[in-house]
């Protein structure tokens, strides 16, 4: 047997509710941490950082954020791009207004500001449900993008409305701006992701997480057993937006370095992140990681295969890439509607039973 839990006994409730109750899982998790923090940084090149790892880390944060709202609390949102923009513009204003304050604080504050905005746009969720709410969140998406495009104060009155991240350092090493070494970008985002994923895990396994899930699964019943729907939904909007705001801040400050709101934080972004969580698995933190990895890696991979490997013209490759991506999304949904995370769980269940089929 490759994977088993036999022989593991829990002697306390705390032990029983830990994140990785099975020893094997715990091992994998620790290996991943060691590789992520102690090995990868030494091998980080500009290409890998900018094309794969940094976007992956940042999208994973955003995906966890959206997963809290959509996967855990059941409120489908298409305003993610707009909320990321709030984070980006908040961090930009903070960075340029208070250059002496640490960038870490700016990023966290940007998350806080986004949380406040998120709560504001979450208010209608009390009355509006399902797809109606999803479409309603588009109001946030379009309004926020318009706002940042229209009000020059947000982009410090620059001629084109573009914002550019100034260089900021942490422990003497640049983490934003063009001179940032690849490993620093990577580590900076990785630390945020780790901390946020850990917080997300804590929240979702505790009281508040249960409130969210109760609302998701059956809001009326949840209310009747004593969950205040307003508080639960708004807290989900707040926490989710906090995560998404941080993702937006990092996306602009660390990853892109310069951004234009409509282009970097348009509706496409909202959809992309929604894809991530659905493909990864709604209501699963692991799923957020898996979904982000999948959707960041897949296009890069396809491009390399089709253009680099098969030598197709880049436009044809791009079109076919779209078809493949679309096809894969459908394929995955048919194969396992509950995402990569569920696929993984089924696999584990099979492994546990292995070599017996049932």
């Amino acid at each position: 047997m490759l994977y088993r839990e036999a022989g593991e006994f829990k002697t306390s409730y705390a032990q029983d509710s830990q994140t990785f109750p099975i020893w094997w899982d715990r091992l994998w998790y620790q290996v991943a941490l060691v590789v992520g923090f102690l090995v990868l940084p030494f091998f980080m090149t500009d290409y890998w950082a900018n094309a794969v790892f940094v976007p992956f880390l940042i999208y994973a944060i955003a995906a966890i954020g959206l997963n809290i709202l959509t996967g855990y609390c059941g409120q489908v949102s298409l305003g993610t791009g707009g909320f990321m923009a709030v984070g980006a513009y908040a961090v930009y204003k903070l960075m340029t207004s208070f250059p002496e304050v640490s960038i870490v604080i700016h990023v966290i504050l940007a998350g806080g500001i986004t949380a406040a905005v998120g709560v504001l746009f979450g208010l209608p969720s009390l009355r509006i449900k399902g797809f109606y709410l999803a479409v309603a969140t588009l109001a946030a998406q379009f309004f926020l993008v318009w706002l940042f495009n229209k009000v020059p104060w947000f982009y410090n009155y620059s001629a084109s409305g573009q914002i550019t991240a100034p260089e900021r350092t942490l422990f003497g090493i640049a983490v934003t701006g063009a001179n940032t070494p690849a490993w620093a970008k990577y580590l900076f985002c990785a630390v945020f992701l780790f901390a946020l994923a850990w917080i997300a895990r804590n929240l979702t396994r505790g009281t508040i997480g249960r409130k969210w899930m109760a609302i998701r699964d059956m809001d009326i019943a949840a209310e009747i057993i004593g969950v205040n729907p307003l508080a639960a939904k708004l807290s989900a909007f707040a926490v989710s937006s906090f995560f998404i705001g941080i993702a937006g801040a990092l996306f602009f400050a660390v990853y892109l370095g310069a951004a234009e709101v409509g282009e970097a934080f348009g509706i496409q972004k909202s959809f992309l992140i929604l894809f991530m969580i659905i493909i990864g698995g709604l209501g699963s933190i692991f799923g957020s990681f898996a979904g982000a990895a999948f959707l960041v890696l897949l296009p890069v991979f396809l491009k390399n295969v089709l253009v680099g490997g098969l030598g197709w013209p880049s436009d044809l490759a791009a079109h076919i890439e779209l078809m493949i991506l679309g096809g894969l999304i459908i394929g995955f949904l048919i194969l396992e509607p509950h995402g990569l995370a569920q696929l993984w769980r089924v696999l584990k269940e099979k492994l546990r039973l292995w070599p017996f089929p049932h």
Partner: protein, 276 residues
Amino acid sequence: MFDERPPAATETLLEVNNIEVIYNHVILVLKGVSLHVPKGGITALLGGNGAGKTTTLKAISNLLQSERGEVTKGSILYRGERVQDLDPATLVRRGVIQVMEGRHCFEHLTVEENLLTGAYTRTDGRAAIMDDLEMVYTYFPRLRERRKSQAGYTSGGEQQMVAMGRALMSRPEMILLDEPSMGLAPQLVEQIFEIVRAVNEGEGVTFLLAEQNTNVALRYAHTGYILESGRVVMEGSAQELRENPDVKEFYLGMSDKGRKSFRDVRSYRRRKRWLA
């Protein structure tokens, strides 16, 4: 009330041979179930929660696929033909219709529209359908009163009637009836079973009904099967079953001294013999 009736016919209409059903590729639910449903009879499928009654019915009506379940072994023959690979619509056209557990009304359609959807596969003209609608309304007067309300807003019992009526509207040869008594007032339970009997006798419709309410079911059925954890543990004519001491104790709630009070069952019971 226990009028003893001989089984109406001996020809087998539906035959289920040793089927196995697996959900989600991993959960094995039916572990070899075989049934013979005689034409023109009422066959009861009894058993506790999770025994696999619903699963059996769905396997027959081919509704399993949509629940990620599949029949992995065995065969299902209807009038001697394999029907496993047909889609549910074809099966309805051939005369087998299921009334699902939990009613499953079309919430946004009115009661009358719900009933009319039952006639979807029929091609015998509007007049005939209207006649049958009238018939259903005669069976269930309550539905006539609520014909214009959205089904989603009707009470549980009303919904059960809608579901039954809807099935009748398809003029079936065989009805798979899943827990018709669930949540119904006693009078209505009687009424529904009376209707089952009336339809069975009057129109010659064969019934395979899954029931928890063993008491009523065995009163109306001709034959019965008892299912436990995905296996048939007992079968026989309704009368045989009714008189079996185990059935009496576990399914009818009777002890030697007649019906036990629910207040007295608090102290402990022995386990079923066949589960040993």
